[in-house]
Amino acid sequence: MQGSTVPSETSEVLIDGAMPAEAIAHEHEAHPDLRVWGLLTFLASESLMFGGFFATYLLLRGAAAQWPPEGTEVELLLPTINTVILVSSSFVIHLGDTAVKKNDVKGLRLWYIVTAVMGIVFLAGQVYEYATLGYGLKSNIFANCFYLMTGFHGLHVFIGVCLILGVLWRSRRSGHYSSSHHTGVEMAEIYWHFVDIIWIVLFTLLYILTRF
């Protein structure tokens, strides 16, 4: 993505590489900041990759005699707690976005720290679940799907946490984010909502549907 270190008004792209036409470049209007557009386009595409895994899961489930097979039942308590944590974190992160729109960078930092902690707790819960389930990736076809889907989602949660930490790192410098300049904040939030929505579908497929 385009560097969010650079204020959008003086897009780095125009200055980048010290073009000979620098003098001309400064007269040109700023390069438009379309990062949010780019992210949304990317996430629309990325959601279809999860769609592919979901389709695989449903097709293999439809072809199986017993789903999940004997001995690979899923836990429900811990994942439900995890779900509550992840879904509520989407509301928490929005508080941070609301804060920065009011020029309240302290509020932004507070709510983004809380979100990051909730994300890390979710990941820790996931790791704990893996360790206690009693079956691994290769146990059977259900386990294949289970670990692939949750693992791939976990990777996205991890990236989301990294994005939030990146926003926090940059927010140390006063004036980096303000009510008029917070695209990076917004992008981290959009990505986090995406991770959350995917989890809701995943939770329904992997945990709730296996109970019926």
């Binding site: 379309l34 629309a44 990759m49 293999l60």
Partner: protein, 566 residues
């Protein structure tokens, strides 16, 4: 490009002899974020891979010139056809068309650059990286992947050497990286076209090429994730021992085929749609007539995008597909010939009665159109389930798609390279060499690929290193055609290199073409436009005598001598 010449910055000349200026060759080896540099980087890199893939093909044709497997080992032959297909699709056609889109789209829509210039550069630099990863599979024990470019399990899951890093592993990594690069490109191009059009450049004022690129890149966005998902699962099966595609443990090999073709059929439209765009740009210029039915041609690109998502099972008629599904996909596949046919009729109507100038780009476009129509006819034949099952896995299929990908796509790409060569380099190419190149390519392609049709009808299977002597006649002709095709690249390379170095300087608009890219200098200055163009007319205003933009002189800078707009 870190050094800056302050004197160059002061001079308002667009062709500064400073580093980073349009005529400085060093920038092509730098991490430039200029869409025009990246476009040319894509085209040249892809062409090098085209030569490598062509070399593989010529070794195969050398093997097939005699019925016996006597030139290379059978496993080497398997590796050659696998690498030929992979290189030609992922390292030649996609990157070269991305290069053309990169170069032309911002100029055509009146933007200074792409929406995300640095992402653009990263997407390009991944091409040599995954290219080298794929080529390095020649060095690992067991050699490159041998399962064909589609890598169906269970063939692709065989790993007799037991090495973790084997040819198939590297193939999957390279294809996955290619997918990442293509998604970056698609996000960039789609955002650019939707959000960065110049004032007055409404959707129905965009040249047809931009429409086709938009349609093609939308396919990348919805299709590539499916291929990536399939590739990830295949990689897990290959390396960790999961069983997504292993029927004994409850998996399904047919599932992989669905994933593969859900992307790789639409990928054909990713390839052919920009070529349709090239045809739509080239014919009006050299026939001096507006593109016939411009709006319908533009919209039919999007219709093709939509339909392309619901035809993939026609690659799997012989994969135990239930009857109702075969019927459904036969119907949807035949349906796609409607928007495609609309375009063909539009091009014929554009050329019809025009004042034709048979320059090299026009010859390539006409030759490409003829070969595309032929491949379209065999395509309809293959869409019919009974016929498809008869010729399934024979050379008929190989002949069909080589007419699409060589006959239409490569010819279209050549047309584009010649047509925009003066704009990209500021030099004219040599017309004589260009026409020689066209003659060799057209004759070579038909000699090479036509014999595959009778061979397929006679029942010769594809992907074999030896065959029954009764097939020898057509195979010898095809091999001669293949060698001729190999030779055909020589006048092209000679022409491109010598013209770029010492060709006649090109004027801004050598073809008297209408379009924003022809209003700026050749090559265009950094950032393309001094002032963003204000578009006031539809494209292809041939014979209408109306200006395309209201600010032609301001657009190219006041210091420059204004060139009369066409």
């Amino acid at each position: 490009m870190t050094t800056n010449a302050p004197t160059g910055a002061i001079a308002p000349n667009v062709e500064q002899p400073a580093p980073g200026a349009p005529n400085n060759w060093r920038r092509f080896f730098s991490f430039s974020t200029d869409h025009k540099v990246i476009g040319i980087q894509y085209i040249v890199t892809a062409f090098l891979f085209f030569l490598i893939g062509g070399l593989f093909a010529m070794i195969m044709r050398g093997e097939l010139i005699t019925p016996d497997a006597d030139l290379v080992d059978r496993t080497v032959y398997n590796a050659l056809f696998t690498m030929h297909g992979t290189v030609m699709l992922f390292m030649w056609t996609f990157p070269v068309l991305n290069g053309l889109a990169n170069y032309l789209v911002p100029l055509m829509i009146g933007a200074r650059d792409m929406a995300f210039p640095r992402l653009n550069a990263i997407a390009f630099w991944m091409v040599p990286v995954f290219g080298i990863i794929l080529m390095s599979s020649f060095l690992v024990p067991g050699g490159p992947a041998q399962a064909g470019w589609w890598s169906y399990p269970p063939v692709s899951l065989q790993n007799p050497g037991g090495n973790l890093v084997n040819g198939q592993f590297l193939w999957l990594v390279a294809v996955a990286l290619s997918g990442v690069s293509s998604i970056m490109g698609a996000v960039n191009i789609v955002t650019t076209i939707i959000k960065m059009r110049a004032p007055g450049m409404g959707f129905f004022r965009m040249p047809a090429f931009v429409w086709t690129v938009l349609s093609a890149q939308m396919i990348q966005l919805f299709g590539l994730p499916a291929l990536t998902a399939g590739a990830v699962m295949l990689l897990f099966d290959l390396t960790t021992g999961t069983s997504f595609f292993d029927p004994i443990k409850g998996g399904s090999p047919v599932l992989y085929q669905h994933f593969f073709w859900f992307y790789s059929h639409p990928a054909v439209y990713v390839i052919i749609l920009p070529v349709f765009g090239i045809f739509s740009e080239v014919f009006p210029v050299y026939a001096r007539k507006p593109l016939f039915g411009y709006k319908v041609v533009a919209v039919s690109s999007l219709i093709i995008t939509g339909l392309s998502a619901i035809v993939w099972v026609h690659h799997m008629f012989a994969s135990g597909t239930p009857g109702w599904m075969r019927m459904l996909f036969m119907f949807s596949t035949m349906l796609i010939s409607v928007p495609t046919g609309i375009k063909v009729f539009a091009w014929v109507a554009t050329v019809w009665g025009g004042k034709l100038r048979l320059t090299t780009p026009m010859l390539f476009a006409l030759g490409g159109l003829v070969m595309f129509v032929f491949s379209g006819i065999t395509g309809i034949m293959l869409a019919a389930v009974p016929f498809d099952i008869h010729v399934n896995n024979t050379y008929f299929v190989v002949g069909h798609f080589h007419y699409v990908i060589y006959g239409a796509t490569v010819m279209g790409v050549y047309a584009a390279i010649y047509h925009w060569f003066p704009k990209m380099t500021g030099r004219m190419y040599y017309e004589g060499l260009g026409k020689l190149h066209f003659a060799l390519t057209f004759i070579g392609a038909n000699l090479n690929f036509f014999p595959m049709h009778p061979l397929g009808l006679q029942g010769m299977p594809r992907r074999v290193a030896s065959y029954d002597p009764e097939f020898a006649f057509w195979n010898v002709i095809a091999s001669l055609g293949g060698f001729l095709l190999g030779m055909s690249t020589l006048p092209f390379i000679l022409n491109m290199v010598s013209s770029w170095v010492q060709g006649k300087p090109a004027p801004d608009n050598p073809w008297r073409a209408i379009g924003l890219e022809w209003l700026v200098s050749s090559p265009p200055p950094t950032e393309n436009f001094e002032e963003l163009p204000n578009v006031i007319a539809e494209p292809y205003g041939y014979g209408k005598d109306e200006p395309l933009v209201s600010n032609a002189s301001a657009m190219i800078g006041t210091e420059l001598a204004p060139t009369p707009s066409p």
